[in-house]
Each structure stands twice: as C-alpha cells, then as structure tokens.
C-alpha cells in the first residue's frame, strides 16, 4: 500500500467514524424528529446543513469541470443554483414554515383541498428525488474506486451502509447533524487545493481574487486574458466569451433557479427551524455557505484549464517542440487514463500530443465510427467527415502536420479530482479531496432519501392508505420506506439506466414546471383553486416531459427520439434542459385560465392562505 493510499484511508475512515458517532448521538424518537428534527435546529446550523444537502457530487466534482470547459456559458449553473435561494427565501420558505406541516405534498394537498393534487406532488417528488439520488450513488462509487482502489460495487455498498445507519436511525435529526459535519469536510476539501493553486499561479491565495489577478512572473498579464489568448491560439473560442444563444442561457438560468426553489429535499430543510423569521435568515445562511464553494469554483475551473493547456502545449503553437511528448507525460495523466476519463490518440504519429479545436473533425470521426458500429447507412456521416477533413486541411493546424485533436477524452469530472495532483500538492490534500467528494455525495443522498421516505410514509401511507395509524407505526413506516429507498437507489447506482447523465435536466424540469408554481400560487394567489392547480401542474409537467422526451427519447430510450438533440432542431434554440422555465410559464397560464372559470376555493381555504401570510400563530391572529 502506498503512502497516499494510507493517508486516504485514514482521512476517509476518520470522517466515517465521525458520521456514525453523530448518528448514535441523535436518534429520532417520534415522527416530528424523524421528518423535521423536532423543528429545533438553529438557523445558522440549518443553513450549513442545507448547504451540504444542496451541494451534491455534481456541485463538488462536476461544476468546476463544466466551467473549465464551458467558460462563460457555464455561468448559468453558478447563477441558477444560487439565485434559486432568493426565490426560496422570499416566496416559499417562511410561509411553508408557518404552515408547519412535515412534507411538501402535504401542503399542496391541503391548500388545494385535493388528494389528487397531493398524489401528483408525491409522484413528482419521488421521480425528481430518485433520479437525482442515482447520480450521488454513482459519485460515491467513483470516489471509492479511484482513491481507495476498491471495486466500485464495494464502495457503493459501504456508502449505502453508512447512509443506512444514520438516516434510518436518526431521520431528519440524524441527517441534519451529520450534514453539518459533512459541510465542514467538503468545504475544506474544496477550498484548500484551490488556495494552493491560486497562490501558485497568481501569488494571491484567495481564488475569488486570484481569478482577477495577474499571473506570477508574467509582467502584469491578467490570468483571464492569458487564458483567452492560449485557448484561442489553439482554435477554441475565448474562455470569457459567450458561445450559446442568449435566449438559451437565459432560460437555462431561470429553469435552474426555479427548479432549485422547487426541489422538495431543499424546501423540507426549512421546516426544521423554530420560527418563521428563522426560515428567512436560514436561507441567507445556506446561501453564504453555498457561495463559499460557488464563488471558488470559477477560479478552480479557469486555473485547471490553464494548467491543463500548459501541461500539453508546453511551448509555441505549431513548433515541433511545443507539444508534450507522450513518453514524458506526467503521472496524474497515467493514473486517470486507467479510469477511462482521460484519453489520447497519436493521430499523426509524431510521439507528441496535440490538444486543439479541429472544428468538428474528431467529432465527425467518432460519429462515423458509431454509425459503422450500428450497421446502418453511413453515407451521411462519411460526407460530414469529408467536409470536416477538407476544412481542416485548409486550416493553419494542417500546416503544422497535425491530423486532428489528439486529446480524445477529457472528462469534466477529473478537473476537481485531479487538480491537486496536477498542481503537485501534498498527499493529505489529495486524501481530503476524496473525503470531500464522498461527503458531498453522502449528504445529498441522505437528504433526498429522507424526502422520498417521508413522501411514502406520511403522504401515501398515513395520508391516503391507512389514516388511522398511530405515531409509532408511522415512524416504523418511515424507517421501512427509508430502507427501501436506499436499496432501490443502490440498485440503480449499480445498474444505472442509460440516462443517468441526463437526469439533472429531468429533476430540475419537474421541480420547476410542477412543484414551484403550485407552491407559489398556493401562497400568493388566494383565488387559486383545486382545478386550476391540478390542471396547471399537469400541463407544466406534461409539456416539460414531452419536450425532454422529444429530443432524448421516450423514457430516455434514444431510439424513440423524434428529432436529433442539437441546437438546429430545438424549438427557438431552447435546449431540453432549459425548458423547465417554459413549462412553469405554461403551468401558470393554464392554472389561471382554469381557475378563473371554476368556483373559488372554500372559505376555510382562503382563511388558511391568510393565516400562512402572517408569522404570528393562528390563534393569536384571530383576536386582532
């Protein structure tokens, strides 16, 4: 066993011991503690737990990679996944906390006096949460297999076991306290390497400032200017320039914002604080803790891209000595080649690697190979390749003797995970990143599983099937549902459906187009009735699912897609992932239309709406 692995085992093992210790200390004794931690969590601590709940494997591992490769365009994720908290704080959290129940579907069912509305909400919640949890399970497996070199399955079972212990025993109470510990682990793991790298490159240890600083030893050249120059010389579009359409970036940002505000596992976190005013400030604290990572990520992304370009393009573009010799490639590249997340191919046989934009030549080659493998008609793919090859032959790169981009695979996910190795940081930092990635995935998985289990035990079992069960039986059902959800999530993590990578669009699309509008209208529109709300939810859900399936295939079976998934075919250039905002708009319009031609909600529902609008307790409010 190497030194690095010993350190990694120690660090990861220590964090696990901590999580289990907390779990034993905070067992849930009744449903109130199991669903909402007895509503006794301090707003700052709740903010921290929300941060860990919210920041998933995608935030921790993938986001900096998306920024590194997407540059400015990936800003949609930064703004979308933080701006949603403004909507949550101002439009939803305080009112839902005032209502004082356990789950999101429960509010929807009560407010729209309809079991059908509650059932629609339960289905949306389970689909959105379950698809989301698959990605976390996968993230746990990857982190284990890469850093501890134990098989993917074993890693996943260990992860499931840990979540099982503290989520089943502790419910929301156990999950909350473990999430607080996990937040501390993940934020250290994220910022420490970022500080090292920022200091190495710019001399400024704060990544948020480093990104706007000059490069060390460069006579005052700004990092971002240099990065723009390096990537454009190699044929890529400038890092800080906009590439996608403005409409699509706008709608993607909007969809992610309202989707964030509508994700049930995040909303539930605001049911755990003691008072309405705590719900308001707790959303602010949550965003503080999230912003620490989200404002660091742009620095991590840009600096990782810079280091990657410099590793491969060692000298002048076009000179024979300017590129990395394959024999001399660094150890971290060899490590990541083994995982299949990084790959190269010496197309022109010069023993060196060229990494540049060949304007679709490599993509056309891959398409042709795929078409040959599928055994269908290849003339279209061949024609596309010929055109790309002709275009490449005209370019300056052909003059250097280059025959296409040779970095055939650079997965977004390696940017954060390989970053400490690329920057040659000490072993304990690398071990910390492993523990941080696992903490991010575990904490989000636990929050999602809790949302699923409470929807099953509280909304389905207690709310619809067996209304007469007592608190103890319901608690037992909650634990059974949790155990069942963990097993299903583990199974899906081991046998991920082909669409695992696309589920983010689905989860946010569902939350944005169905849950968020229903909650918002339930609070802000007193006249909104059951018919309007249900029709609106179904219209938003239907249009969004329909649009996603049109391009991705029914239930994500690619062969049933009605049109190729690219900008030329999208309606007004709107990508399926950006459609949630349009679905939400459809939801609002349909809801208002149907509600205006049907009966106003009954008196007691209108009183309920008036009541949730003021923080003061229901009894006292009536005496005014």
């Amino acid at each position: 066993m190497t030194n690095l692995m010993m350190t990694t085992y120690l660090v990861v093992g220590a964090t696990f011991a901590l999580y289990l210790f907390i779990a034993l200390k905070s067992r849930a004794k009744n449903t109130g503690e199991f669903y909402v931690a007895g509503k006794g969590i301090h707003p700052v601590l709740n903010g921290m737990a929300t941060g860990a709940d919210w920041m998933s494997a995608a935030s921790f591992i993938s986001m900096a990679g998306m920024l590194a490769m997407g540059g400015y365009d990936a800003s949609a994720y930064l703004m979308g996944w933080t701006g949603g908290y403004c909507l949550l704080a101002m439009l939803l959290a305080p009112y839902l906390r005032k209502y004082g129940k356990f789950t999101v579907p429960e509010f929807i069912g009560d407010r729209f006096y309809s079991q059908s509305a509650r059932l629609v909400a339960v289905i949306c919640l389970i689909v959105a949460s379950l698809t989301y949890v698959i990605g976390q399970m996968k993230g746990i497996g990857v982190a284990f297999s890469r850093f501890l070199e134990i098989p993917f399955q074993t890693g996943l079972f260990i992860g499931m076991g840990i979540v099982f212990v503290y989520a089943v025993l502790g419910g929301m109470k156990g999950v909350t306290y473990t999430q607080i510990a996990q937040y501390v682990v993940l934020i250290f793991a994220y910022t420490v390497p970022a500080i090292f790298i920022s200091f190495q490159l710019t001399g400024n240890p704060i990544p948020q400032l480093g990104l706007g600083s000059t490069l060390s030893g460069s006579d005052g050249v700004f990092l971002l200017d240099k990065l723009d120059q390096v990537v454009t010389e190699l044929g890529f579009s400038a890092y800080t320039a906009q590439k996608g359409s403005t409409l699509n970036i706008f709608l993607l940002t909007m969809s992610l914002m309202i989707g964030t505000a509508g994700l049930p596992h995040v909303i539930t976190r605001f049911f755990t604080v003691p008072k309405v005013k705590d719900a308001r400030s707790s959303a602010g604290w949550a965003l503080v803790f999230i912003a620490i990572l989200y404002t660091t990520a742009p620095g991590v992304g840009a600096m990782a891209r810079m280091n990657l370009m410099h590793t491969i393009q060692t000298g002048e573009v076009g000179s024979p000595e300017g590129n990395l010799a394959i024999e001399e490639r660094p150890q971290w590249m060899r490590n990541w080649e083994k995982t299949g997340l990084l790959g190269f191919e010496d197309k022109n046989g010069d023993g060196k690697i060229q990494y540049y934009s060949d304007n679709g030549l490599s993509a056309a080659e891959a398409d042709l190979a795929a078409a040959r493998k599928a055994g269908g008609d290849v003339t279209a793919a061949q024609a596309k390749l010929d055109a790309a090859a002709a275009q490449h032959a005209e370019s300056k790169f052909a003059g250097f003797g280059w025959k296409g981009n040779e970095m055939t695979k650079v997965d977004n996910d390696i940017m954060v995970l390989a970053n400490p190795e690329i920057a040659k940081l000490p072993n304990w930092v690398i071990a910390l990143v492993a523990a941080g990635g696992i903490a991010a995935a575990l904490s989000t998985a636990a929050g999602l599983l809790l949302a699923i289990s409470s929807a099953i035990s509280h909304d389905l079992v207690k709310g619809m099937i067996a209304k007469s069960i007592d608190d103890k039986t319901e608690l037992m059902w909650g634990r059974v549902a949790m155990a069942g959800a963990i097993i299903v999530a583990g199974y899906l993590g081991l046998n991920p459906p082909g669409f695992a990578a696309q589920v983010v669009a689905l989860a946010f699309g569902l939350a944005a187009s169905s849950i968020f509008p229903a909650l918002m209208m339930g609070i802000f529109v007193k006249r909104m009735n059951n018919v309007g709300a249900i029709c609106g939810m179904l219209a938003g859900l239907g249009s969004t699912l329909g649009y996603i399936f049109w391009f991705k295939g029914f239930m994500f079976i690619a062969s049933t897609a009605m049109a190729p998934d690219n900008a030329a075919n999208w309606w007004m250039g709107i990508s399926p992932g950006s459609f949630g905002a349009v679905g939400a708009l459809i939801n609002f319009i349909v809801a208002f239309a149907f509600s205006s031609i049907t009966k106003a909600p009954p008196e007691h529902i209108q009183h309920l709406v008036e009541d949730i609008r003021v923080p003061m307790g229901a009894g006292a409010a009536q005496s005014h």
Partner: protein
Amino acid sequence: MNNAQKYWQANIRLVIGCLIVWFFVSFGCGILFVNQLNAIRLGGYQLGFWFAQQGSIYTFVVLIFFYAWRMNQLDRKFNVEEA
C-alpha cells in the same frame, strides 16, 4: 384595509423590490448586457463576466439578509411577530 392586508402589501412591495435587484444583477448584468459590460474592466475581470461568475452571487447573499432584516421590522411594525 385591515392590518393583515396592509402588512401583506408592504411585504409584496419589499419582495418585488428585491426581485428587481435579483433580476438586474443576474439576468441583466450577467446575461442580457454581458457583452456591453465586458468593455469595462474590474481588475483582471471583464465586468459582465464578473457579474455572471461572482457579483451576482454576492448580491444574492446580501439581498436575502436585507429581506430578512426588513421583514423582521415589518413584523414588529404591524405587530404580527411570533410569540
């Protein structure tokens, strides 16, 4: 108009004000006017790019705390605080 309605109106006004700022920094400065703002520099950052990747997030944080602080004031003013 009774007390609860006045409180609700004040609340709506505050929320709309905050959401205008929310929209302006992210969708306005970060997306719609990003190219124009990029002509202005903030250290090594182009200003539009800075809003998209840093500034909007800082503004969101300030905005939520401002909202919470103002709402607590309104709760007291209209006498609808929790016990």
